[in-house]
Symmetry: C2
Subunit: 171 residues, 2 copies
Amino acid sequence: MARSTSTQRSLPPSDEIGPGFESHVPGVDYGVLDNLVGYAIRRAQILVYDDFLQALAPWDITPPRFSALVLIARNPGMKQTDLAQLLGIARSGVVMLTDGLEALGYVRRVASKTDRRAYMLELTSAGSKALSAIEAAVREHDARMSSRLSEAEKSKLIQLLARIGPAGEQQ
Amino acid sequence: MARSTSTQRSLPPSDEIGPGFESHVPGVDYGVLDNLVGYAIRRAQILVYDDFLQALAPWDITPPRFSALVLIARNPGMKQTDLAQLLGIARSGVVMLTDGLEALGYVRRVASKTDRRAYMLELTSAGSKALSAIEAAVREHDARMSSRLSEAEKSKLIQLLARIGPAGEQQ
DNA sequence: TATTGTTATACTCTATAACTATA
DNA sequence: TATAGTTATAGAGTATAACAATA
């Protein structure tokens, strides 16, 4: 392709890194990548993650933090170990995640009455209030990312993605 | 929900972390997460990434390494800067990526004849040979991850994912 | 004995910034 | 003056292992 001099694309506005990620640069041969579900997911994920971070920056919320907030809100009283399992991360990771959400004033550790080793997680009233705004921002972000899809296509996409996974699992 | 004692699910076989990530634990309320395209993508990505790593471990190949290999194979003569742009990472990242692939004997840096600052990337014959096996393994992995989808659904999914992205881009 | 939360540690990934040699 | 590759450094994110308190 010899893009060296000819196809030289407009370079990044900031130093080093450009608009993040162009999912499909014209004139480039992506070979098998274009036929892989995994690569399509990866591509989309990079774009979504980047936009999420920007959109939720005012609340200092990352995807894992958002997932944790929603899960705690909808399932109050979970132990940290429970959350670790739901998020698929180690318990030590939940400690730091919880520390962060506690520092933001969104989450509270409540001593369990049945197990003195454990803490039950719940939202503070500030966290509950913040989550409303945060959820709205996330919905807006999500709508923007799928704005080229109809509602039907969006549902279809979610449904198809839910069936992705190694051979004998879920469903 | 009070899963503390009652709903206590079978715990990880290894210490700390379980089978990775259960995308949807029954009895748990995922709230808005179930309606977000972004979360569906994130879920799928975690499962795919994990399986990819296991499947490609024999070749010591990660998703970024695989993408790089394919792009170099199909577009020989790219500069490292070109690859950085395609992958959406910093130039310094490509240096290490290339170092790794060079150490594996798969990629070669060839001095450009037109620009003495630049190197053109290309596969070695060993890299070319290895890529055949690697591609086969990746295809197998990808087929396993989407084994619950028909060919038509798989195509549809790839097509829908390609349309994900912030408002005014691609397509 | 096993589990909960915690800490300490390390490892990976990647960005930033500065440097050099070219252009 | 700008760009290619490189290096050094630092910051996330997350895993592992060990520990005290409790079960």
